[in-house]
């Protein structure tokens, strides 16, 4: 009855490097990437356990291997990513979990604070185990 509809929608394409356009997006992608390094840390720890189980010679070979520059670099990088992973996880937890005590909501900061405190306590204990 009337002229044919003339609307032509423009559909913007998402750029390949969309995640570089905003700091928060970049941080997010790095956070996701950190899972790879978390996985490597687990593998590395398993290798350590296996080396210890096979006796002092094997353990020494493991330590020599660990001292090679590329592995040191990898592990330093992994530490950074694991810290990123842990900190972002601990910061985000209160948003996802709503806990009530006697009808009142626990404030997010308190929840995050207690998670950090627990982490530091456990870390301190482990350090004492290893060093002390």
């Amino acid at each position: 009855m009337s002229a044919p509809p003339y609307a032509r929608l423009y559909k913007p394409k998402v750029r390949l490097l969309w995640w570089l356009s905003r700091r928060s997006y970049t941080l997010f992608v790095l956070r996701e990437l950190s899972s790879v390094f978390v996985a490597w840390t687990v593998v590395y720890l398993l290798l350590l356990v296996r080396a210890v189980a096979r006796g002092p010679a094997e353990y020494q070979r493991f330590l020599d291997w660990s001292a090679s520059p590329w592995l040191v670099a990898l592990n330093v990088l992994s530490l950074a990513f694991v810290l990123l992973h842990a900190i972002t996880f601990m910061n985000l937890t209160p948003q996802a979990m709503v806990l009530h005590v006697r009808g009142r909501r626990i404030p997010g900061r308190l929840l995050a604070g207690s998670i950090y405190a627990t982490w530091l306590l456990v870390s301190a204990f482990l350090v004492w185990l290893v060093v002390g």
Binding site: M1, S2, A3, Y6, A7
Partner: protein, 579 residues
């Protein structure tokens, strides 16, 4: 190609959605269309803040709510309509509660109520200070569960289809594509709201351009009581953003430049630290706005870059009350005035807020044209008379939205399908719109010039105080503006989302409505409620205990007649506040 439904509803706000649900529940086999120029959740119902009145407390009664409403309306209300309204309001509000509306509660879980202007008892239900927002979203989301409700989002209705005195549907423009279609309907319900944008300072959103009132007017339905324009006493200067009456019912004070609660000088009672019903800041809106004008004349207002203002003092309420009961007010003051009402005074002035007048309907929502119904601010039943009490408008949407929906559904069941001839009118309308679209790129002046002149003419002539000379001059000016508007420039010749074209259509409607307002005001030679004539300062029940009825003549000008008010329980008395 055109669409066809049993009931077509124009406008998707509180009244429109309630009507749609009413049709769907009355008879699920009827197909009902909601045609709105914006997505329904953008409708102006969303901005209402303060609350919705419904008498539910044991110390309250329907009679008291009715009396407050009738006296608040300066006896221009039709008392049979008011009786029905107050009786159905609590039930409608409860229905909203059942549909999920997050009404604020007492500690024991029951509905909480607050005091409000002009009401003798506490009966205003509220959802913090975003009552309209919650009401609209509840209605909209609930409407999604009825499969018989079809929606036409962002379709702008440009004309009613009328054949042999009977409404047969609408012609609408789909904004996204520019196509013009007929949407046939056995019954049409107008729920398009008011027309605050006729004035320069208003709480109203951009979309409040009186489209439905204009549609009815052009189709031969009379407009009733158009001269009654409500100024809300507390709008922010510059933007006109509403600061809810709830700020006053929670205890806020209005003070002039000397920090003096000036309302005590205007027969509104004596100041007390806590709010007193029907007294001082809880007086009716028309009296409070009139008091402001007198304060300006006495030089006791504060000068601001946007004209004289007074101050709303909320400091004594404390942060806890403000954050619980008035959080949106705090947010608005902070964002748009850079002011924290907990510590500072808020500048406010009266701004146009609501139209008591509108399309004439009976108590079932039926207009003067067969098959045409109206509900909400677009309609004038009249329950608000010469001045509306705050918190009566939201229940009005529900009560009369439901009534109009039921009545339209009943009519549609019995009515014959619309004649084919009516559909042909849609082709004429489409040709007219194309002429508008293509023929005015080289128009004589910008639309904004005409719109601004219309607004300043109305503010001067049809403001809080009026007189015969200014009104007569305004009538001439508006006639001139009507002619100039027909040749104003439309730069945009696109068919895709052409908002300049829709603005031109809206402007034409607004000028016609402005004319009906000015002529109605000219013919009412008395002062009543929100219509105050300096040349006729007294109320005249002998001549004017009647509604003004504006009919459109073939040359476009309004013809004014009068229709008596329905008085059942309360003969006209004196409006007493502050005692």
């Amino acid at each position: 190609m055109s669409a066809s439904h049993d009931v077509v509803i124009v406008g998707g706000g509180g009244a429109g959605l309630r009507a749609a649900i009413a049709v769907a529940e009355t008879d699920p086999s009827l197909s009902v269309a909601v045609v709105s120029k914006v997505y329904p959740m953008r409708s102006h119902t969303v901005s209402a803040e303060g609350g919705a009145a419904g008498a539910i407390r044991s110390d309250d009664s329907l009679d008291e709510h009715a009396y407050d409403t009738v006296s608040g309306g300066d006896w221009l209300c039709d008392q049979d309509a008011v009786g029905a309204f107050v009786a159905e309001a609590p039930r409608e509000l409860l229905r909203l509660e059942h549909w999920g509306c997050p009404w604020s509660r007492e500690a024991d879980g029951h509905i909480a109520v607050r005091p409000f202007g002009g009401m003798k008892k506490m009966r205003t239900w509220f959802a913090a200070d975003k009552t309209g927002f919650h009401l609209l979203h509840t209605l909209f989301q609930t409407s999604l569960k009825y499969p018989s409700i079809a929606r036409y989002d962002e379709w702008h209705v440009t004309r009613l289809l009328v054949d042999e005195g009977r409404v047969c549907g609408v012609v609408a423009l789909e904004l996204m594509s520019g196509r013009v279609e007929a949407i046939m309907g056995k019954a049409v319900i107008l729920a398009t709201g008011g027309c605050g944008r006729i004035f320069p300072f208003t709480t109203n959103a951009a979309i409040k351009t009186g489209d439905g009132m204009a549609l009815a007017y052009w189709a031969g339905a009379p407009l009733k009581d158009m001269e009654f324009v409500q100024y809300h006493p507390t709008g922010l200067p510059f933007t006109g953003i509403l600061i809810t009456e709830a700020a006053r019912s929670e205890g806020g004070w209005l003070v002039n430049k000397d920090g003096y609660r000036y309302l005590q000088d205007y027969n509104l009672g004596t100041p007390s630290p806590k709010p007193v019903f029907r007294s001082m800041e809880l007086g009716p809106r028309d009296r409070l706005s009139q008091a402001f004008v007198h304060e300006v004349e006495k030089g006791r207002t504060i000068d601001s870059p946007y004209g004289p203002v007074v101050h709303l003092d909320l400091r004594h309420l404390g942060a806890k009350v403000i954050d619980t009961k008035l959080p949106f007010v705090r947010e608005l003051c902070h964002k748009y005035e850079n002011i924290d009402p907990v510590h500072e005074l808020v500048p406010v002035r009266p701004v146009v807020h609501y139209m008591m007048g509108g399309v004439h309907t009976d108590i079932h929502g039926a207009t003067g044209v067969a098959g045409l119904y109206a509900a909400g601010e677009v309609a004038c039943v009249s329950i608000n008379g010469a001045n509306r009490l705050g918190s009566n408008s939201l229940p009005e949407l529900l009560v009369f939205g439901a009534r109009a929906g039921q009545a339209a559904a009943q009519y549609a069941v019995d009515a014959a399908p619309p004649p084919a001839a009516a559909e042909a009118q849609a082709a004429d309308e489409q040709r007219r719109l194309e002429r508008e679209l293509l023929g005015r790129a080289a128009g004589r002046e910008r639309m904004s010039t005409i719109r601004t002149q219309m607004q300043s003419t109305m503010e001067e002539a049809a403001g809080i105080y009026r007189d015969g000379d200014t009104l007569a001059k305004a009538a001439d000016k508006l006639r001139e503006l009507r002619e100039r508007a027909a040749s104003a420039t439309i730069d945009d010749v696109s068919r895709t989302f052409n908002t300049e074209l829709t603005a031109a259509l809206e402007l034409t409607g607004m000028i016609d409505l402005a004319e009906s307002m000015v002529h109605s005001a000219l013919h009412r030679e008395e002062s009543r409620g929100a219509h105050q004539r300096t040349d006729f300062p007294a109320r005249d029940d002998e001549r004017f205990l009647a509604h003004s009825m504006a009919y459109r003549e073939p040359d476009g000008s309004p013809r004014i007649e009068h229709m008596p008010v329905t008085i059942t329980r309360w003969p006209p008395g004196e409006r007493v506040y502050g005692k």
